[in-house]
């Protein structure tokens, strides 16, 4: 009997890469794509790495493809923006060994800064897109993506969403295909994209898409499921599951190839049903094209562009069932927060005390934007903290940024922050950059990077030293401080923000969730000494609560013993537990 396993969508994608004979994988972590690489690394047959950013990862995969092996890169939707430069031109060059980009969209914004739709990027880059709808298809579609990548000489995007990436389902396992390496032959008309060559390749791109639009009608990833013809749905990905849940009798055209659209197949389906719905999350990509062919269909008039779809959405619209009648209780919100013992909380307590504004970045520390810390003013994209601070200074002058700091984590600094810092040096910025070095990529669940000294494969390698890196690009004032040393932090922040020169403060303390990072002893309150001032509560550690009599309790199952509350208490009313 075939071996079956429950697999996360991302685990199934990794398995698909393995079975497809992939030899090289490069990625930068980003929810909801991270577990792809974390599972690929379990296959010894595949070289897998964390690259410093998605552009580099994409280029590593492109290089591997040019050399003749199957290669894959994976990233979240906004990562595709970073990788779009190589992607758009790799579209012209095409491939030697198959080349697949897995792009993970986030409808509903579970862990992202926007809700962009990768299919729009793919249309602009003229790259085909496959969209699976469960774990089994995630694996199968990755394999199929490599086949068509080589057949049509194109990179292929496999588009997933959070719901697919983080759902588990049954997967039938197969063996790894033995794919011989393609021979590399020098071919500058294909791999050197200067204008004269690119002009010719652009024609190839157009022909390729035309061919796929026609031949795609016979691709096994597209499926017409005819039933009751009074209602028909064109759908793909996870929304297909909602259609089957709510309207099992309806006719469905389930698209696996969502760019280019298999036009004849769609026209054929549309002619067979009375009322046609297009059920796609995010942008009306299928809908606008189908309508442009003169086909009547209902799409975004009935369904939203924003957020994740659901079966209840269909129950409301199609069956006219009122599900919003089921009312939720009004309960206080429980937003995500920094963990107990998080070094960012300590640093932010000082920024808050000094009333400094933070130009923020992407990472756990974005959570410093909300109460009670309220120190982060801006969050745009990876690396933007440093460059946007520089822009503020150039707009308003040096004094304006004396009560601002750029706040960026170590992994984000290595990603693209370093470029922004080089710009500040070059263009004589005078701002203060705070690098919160917690020795990991925290938010996505602890991935290594070039400054941690360990690779995705777990090999110990020389760590890039952020302090010396800053020195080497010409910054005179670089300070390293323990993130829990409040007096030193306060002193450094006052001095460096006052200075008319660029400076970097690196706060060092590993993420409290990293294995082996345990503070000795937990914190316990001494109620007799407590004056109920609430100073300990200010940074919002979730282990602390106020009692009825306004003294405090510390939840010992949550406390990590960082001692921040102890340092903040003016009356020595918190101590470390005796061992």
């Amino acid at each position: 009997m075939a071996k079956k396993k429950i697999m996360l969508g991302n685990e199934a994608i990794a398995r698909g890469a393995y079975e497809a004979g992939v030899k090289v994988s490069a990625a930068y972590p980003g929810t909801p794509s991270t577990e792809i690489s974390e599972n690929i690394v379990k296959y010894d047959e595949i070289y897998a790495e964390w690259s410093p950013n998605e552009k580099v990862a994409m280029e590593v995969a492109i290089g591997a493809s040019i050399s003749g092996v199957r290669a894959m890169s994976s990233m979240k939707h906004v990562g595709v923006n970073v990788a779009s430069d190589p992607l758009y031109t790799a579209s012209y060059s095409g491939v030697n060994g198959g080349l697949v980009l897995v792009a993970a969209d986030d409808p509903g914004l579970y862990s992202s800064q926007n809700e962009q739709d990768t299919r729009c990027v793919a249309r602009a880059a003229q790259v085909p897109v496959l969209e699976p709808s469960d774990s089994q298809e995630a694996k199968d579609f990755v394999k199929f993506a490599f086949d068509i990548s080589e057949k049509y000489d194109t990179p292929v995007i496999v588009r997933t969403t959070t719901r697919l990436a983080h759902s588990q389902g049954m997967v039938v396992l197969e063996e790894r295909a033995d794919i011989p390496d393609k021979i590399y032959e020098r071919n500058i008309s294909k791999f050197v994209m200067m204008p004269g060559m690119a002009k010719v390749r652009h024609l190839h791109v157009e022909q390729r898409l035309k061919a796929m639009e026609e031949e795609g009608c016979d691709f096994p990833v597209n499926r017409m499921e005819m039933g009751d013809t009074s209602i028909g749905f064109i759908t793909s990905g996870i929304p297909y599951q909602y259609v089957k849940e709510v309207c099992p009798e309806a006719s469905v055209l389930k698209l696996g190839l969502v760019h280019p659209l298999p036009r004849k197949l769609i026209e054929d389906f549309a002619s067979k049903v009375d009322k046609l719905y297009i059920f796609e999350e995010l942008e009306p990509v299928i809908e606008e094209q189908v309508k442009s062919w003169g086909i009547n269909a209902i799409g975004k008039e009935a369904f939203t562009k924003q957020g994740e779809y659901s079966a209840n959405m269909l129950r409301n619209v199609i069956l006219n069932e009122k599900t919003e009648g089921i009312k939720a209780e009004q309960v206080p919100a429980r937003p995500p927060i920094l963990c107990p013992g998080c070094p960012h909380r300590s640093v932010f307590s000082v920024l808050s005390k000094l009333k400094l504004h933070g130009a923020g970045d992407i990472g756990c520390y974005t959570l410093g934007a909300v109460a009670p810390l309220s120190v982060i003013d801006t969050t745009i994209c990876m690396g933007a903290s440093i460059s946007s601070l520089h822009g503020m200074e150039k707009a308003k002058g040096k004094d304006y940024v004396k009560n601002w700091v750029a706040v960026i984590g170590d992994s984000t600094f290595m990603h693209t922050g370093i470029n922004s810092l080089m710009n500040m040096v070059y263009n004589q910025g005078t701002g203060t950059v705070l690098i919160l070095d917690n020795s990991t990529t925290g938010m996505t669940g602890h991935q290594d990077h070039a400054a941690t000294g360990k690779t995705l494969k777990g090999e110990i390698v020389p760590a890039i030293d952020i302090y010396n890196l800053c020195k080497a690009i010409g910054i005179k004032h670089v300070t390293e401080i323990n993130a829990f040393d409040l007096p030193a932090l306060e002193k450094a922040l006052k001095e460096e923000t006052a200075r008319d020169e660029i400076s970097v403060i690196i706060t060092k303390s590993p993420c409290v969730l990293l294995k082996g990072n345990v503070f000795p002893n937990k914190c316990v309150p001494i109620p007799e000494k407590c004056r109920k001032c609430g100073a300990c509560l200010k940074p919002g550690c979730p282990a602390l609560t106020r009692n009825e009599d306004r003294t405090i309790s510390i939840d010992e199952t949550m406390c990590n013993g960082c001692g921040l509350c102890m340092q903040l208490c003016p009356f020595e009313a918190i101590e470390k537990q005796a061992k």
Partner: protein
């Protein structure tokens, strides 16, 4: 059989993912089709987290929606209140009688709701356990979620031996014994 829908709700960091792995394991053991859906990333940092589990002959949708859950397992009282409307009319609600204040309560912006269990008992079949206390007695506070799962297991149709078998192969090897004992505390009361 009709597709069954189970939800596990709690606070990020409480270990909902391990519980759902055990649940997925037992369902697979029984030969059903199954889909589980989880929350990773930012929401895991102390936020309200939900895991959906659906199983049956053929499962389409991977999530559980309002009014659809057969069993709701809540690792924290207020989270039980937040998601109780996901239960079917005759659905079962398992509550770990434990309070974790959200930051909105810590800062005084909101008040932690009172009498949650009494309130929910009026409209639902509620079973409670203070699993944290029990787990601390066992010697490992982290095992509390398997105690809660044991209690929920009373309302599902899988054999005790199969549960123990799945726990053995799912949890870290050093914690097998303590997790098996934790399961039995919940299962046998």
């Amino acid at each position: 059989m009709m597709t069954k829908s189970i939800m596990i709700v709690g606070v990020g960091g409480q270990g909902t993912l391990l519980t759902s792995r055990v649940l997925g394991g037992i369902i697979q053991e029984a030969g059903y089709d199954v889909k589980l859906s989880e929350v990773h990333g930012m929401a895991q940092r102390g936020g309200s987290v939900v895991t959906f589990v659906r199983y049956g002959e053929k499962v389409w949708e991977p999530i559980v929606e309002e009014g659809q859950a057969d069993v709701l397992i809540a690792f924290e009282r207020m989270e039980a209140l937040r998601y109780a409307h996901f239960l079917k009319k005759d659905g079962v609600l398992i509550i770990n009688d434990w309070r974790i204040d959200p930051i909105t309560v810590v800062t005084g912006a909101a008040e932690y709701p009172k009498d949650i269990i009494q309130k929910l008992s009026k409209s639902h079949k509620v079973y409670t356990v203070n699993a944290m206390e029990e787990a601390i007695k066992l010697g490992n506070s982290k095992a509390f979620n398997i105690i809660v799962l044991g209690m929920a297991a009373r309302h599902m149709d899988f054999a005790k031996e199969d549960w123990l078998k799945v726990i053995e192969r799912t949890v870290p090897s050093k914690t097998v014994e303590i997790n098996e004992r934790a399961f039995l505390i919940g299962y046998e009361g």
